[in-house]
Symmetry: C2
Subunit: 230 residues, 2 copies
């Protein structure tokens, strides 16, 4: 998996154990394991990378672009569990069978690893196992933060927190283009596209951000942060 969109708050502290976080270059991910080499691959916009219920054969590392993973209910309701940006690993931690679907948001380059090889590396090299533990733990933190938002925060708080999270992941410039559609944001935050749209308009009206065409936003971070209880 990966660090996904875990917000780096001031209280966050380096990983508990000695394994270090993977660096942006794919080559050093399974350092010291020459048999675990990633194969470059590309996906088009909206292309499925793997599907829920299929055998989990590979693990992926994003090099360029963006990926979303989601679960669906039988009637089509969708919950996005994470967005994956360059440097992130995804597809791990799902046993023999994929527990969600992964799709490319845009044209996306990845490195593909065989899951079995990664697991073999984990059982033979303790640093790899610790690294995988560290990544799973990081994803777990992210999932629990999302749980708190979905369970207990208002639409405005969720959207404000989401914008700050994306800004953070994208380099904390304060100005950026959202890499996903309103539908993706809605399905991530447990809301509807109309509510996302209305909330963004409201935030702009309140001076918490400026917009320029659908995707481009400039955050007023101190005001947004004031809206997010924590």
């Amino acid at each position: 998996m990966s660090t996904e969109f875990t917000a780096r708050t001031a209280t966050q502290v380096p990983s508990a154990h000695s394994a270090q976080v993977p660096d942006i270059e794919g080559s050093a991910l399974f350092a010291g394991c020459p048999d675990v080499i990633g194969t470059p691959f590309s996906y088009d916009r909206e292309e499925e990378i793997y599907g829920e219920g299929e055998e989990a054969e590979f693990v992926y590392k994003v090099l360029d672009g963006a990926v979303r993973t989601h679960k669906v209910l039988s009637d089509g309701r969708r919950q996005i569990t994470g967005f994956h940006l360059p440097g992130d690993l995804f597809g791990l931690g799902q046993g023999e069978i994929n527990r969600h679907t992964a799709e490319a948001l845009t044209k996306t380059k990845v490195l593909i690893f065989k899951r079995r090889q990664v697991e073999r590396a984990a059982t033979s090299r303790v640093e790899v196992a610790c690294q995988l533990w560290s990544m799973a733990t990081s994803d777990l933190r992210h999932a629990q933060d999302l749980t708190l938002s979905l369970g207990r925060r208002s639409a405005q708080e969720r959207v404000a927190a989401f914008l700050l999270e994306v800004d953070d992941r994208l380099g904390s410039a304060g100005t950026f283009a959202l890499p996903m559609t309103r539908r993706d944001i809605a399905d991530y935050l447990g809301l509807t596209i109309e509510t996302i749209s209305r909330t963004l308009s409201q935030l702009e009206e309140d001076g918490a951000l400026r917009r320029d065409g659908g995707r481009q936003v400039s955050l007023h971070r101190t005001r947004l942060r004031r809206l997010v209880e924590d």
Copy 2:
């Protein structure tokens, strides 16, 4: 951490890697690591085990009783992230600082391990590291299932799924006493105690369960399962 309340669905498959799930007895948890020995300890009903923001010094294994872990917003809104029953490990995966609070639901016996020792064991024995990875992964799955419920399911679906999950964790007898209050259920499912109460009444009226005093329930599992889309 632990398997928490992860529902075992028909599609679920044994852990991906070779590490085996810990057994109910604490002694075999860090097998082959004589330096990692748990110290027995007890907590009273509603007693705090550790608090969010404190240094994470220990890891815990439930022997008897039940524990909840939760996060709180500054205005008091609470989200329970998991209930931990006998056999479950909790308190792992939070770096140097606790990212949530843990409290005993009832009088609870645990085994306490020093976090540093567990981490040391992980870096020296690959089976331990894999076991910890496996547990983190299992917790991640659970958190993502909860995310789907909170984001996309109705109150009735959440309560029905919750009852089936508890039944499963408690041995699938179909009849059991809920180990937690309505408030705990509400704070786990992102609802209010009134909605929990009304939903249970409605489910009873629909013949999906029977109640006997506040906590005791008998599930009509096929009817409940029909209410839970998946």
